[in-house]
């Protein structure tokens, strides 16, 4: 049945082609900034979003320490500004990966990184 074939091929094609898709990021600003180079590790990571978002998971990855989940217990509900305390893990490149729910129901995610020399 040709119609069913079109539907099936489109679904398979969709799954493959959409592999490049990524949820759009509403992250306006971070401190430290993306690709920033710092002399010392910051005490907290700050993120400012365009619209209200409820962060559901934030991970900090470091080459020597692996992935550490940051504590979100202090943030409840939808907000545009977040400040999350972090530990000094020493020199190296830190990668922050965040996930959250926008107040329009979109699931969002993104990442940025900075280096401590």
């Amino acid at each position: 049945m040709r119609f069913a074939q079109v539907l099936f091929v489109s679904l398979v094609f969709g799954s493959l082609a959409a592999g490049l898709a990524s949820a759009h990021s509403p992250l306006r600003e971070t401190v430290p900034g993306d690709q920033a180079v710092l002399a010392t590790a910051p005490a907290a990571i700050e993120m400012v979003f365009d619209d209200g978002i409820r962060l559901t998971r934030v991970e900090l990855a470091h080459p020597d320490h692996g992935e550490i989940e940051l504590d979100l217990s202090g943030s409840d509900g939808f907000a545009t500004d977040y400040s999350l305390p972090m530990s000094d893990l020493g020199r190296g490149t830190y990668r922050v990966t965040w996930r959250g729910l926008a107040d329009d129901g979109h699931a969002m995610r993104g990442a940025f990184s900075f280096t401590v020399e």
């Binding site: 040709r2 119609f3 079109v6 539907l7 489109s10 679904l11 094609f13 969709g14 799954s15 493959l16 082609a17 959409a18 592999g19 490049l20 898709a21 990524s22 949820a23 759009h24 509403p26 409820r54 559901t56 998971r57 991970e59 990966t97 996930r99 959250g100 729910l101 107040d103 329009d104 129901g105 979109h106 699931a107 969002m108 995610r109």
Partner: protein, 279 residues
Amino acid sequence: MADPVAAIAVAAKFGLSLTGLLAIGLTLNAALFAELRASTFWRPMTIGFALLAAIFAAVGFALQAVTLTGELAGMADPEILGLLWRTQAGEALLLRLLGFGLIAASPLFSRIGLVPALIGGAMSIWSFASVGHVSDQPFYAQAALSLHLSIAAFWLGILLPLWRAAPAKAAVLGRQFGRVALWLVPLLFVAGLALAATLVGGLDGLATPYGLALLIKVALAAILLGLGALNKFRLIPALDLTPVQSKTRLNRSLATEAAVFCLILLGTAWFTSSLSPPA
């Protein structure tokens, strides 16, 4: 880097829009054309697409929970699911489950005809306007999207019945559809352009990735318009003169139309998940 969850989420969104519009479109066409209601296949086909659409809607919702947690276990995380449920995503899922449920259950209400299925269709159409980029736009943009989707569903919903019908029945159904489509299809384009102007904000917005994606969509819609005109003015009338040969040509044209519709829906599922409108 390829993200399998994002890929599956886009595929689920595409599956929802395709099967959902087919279910709604078959209902609209059946409500208007007795020729279609008299066929044996439209009802099981409509019920099947409505059930598939409800499944795709639920899968899409569950995948949002996976995106939020980064783990498959997120699908069963009551806190995350509860959080999603309280947003527009939850509202849209409820409307979709009820709407497609009403379409699928319509044989149970056969005494009052297609009214429950049409109400279900309207609820499902509204679910697309109540979530996503259009949801924070003025009411007229949401009304334009609902009108745009309803007419697109009506158009998509005739392809399969025309494809399956015998030449004589296809000629009757095709003429009936063509008379209504002559008025509705221009409205589809007007509503789509009004919506695009609201989301893109002006000519400058067309130079953005979102604007370019919309332009590609318009180009594909123009192909659909050409195929629709070919069917209405050449292939449907030719069914009276050379039924067998013309039906083969009509089916080829309908299959091409279905493929272009799939491309449009797939592209829309991708760019509304990956890009933000500039306006």
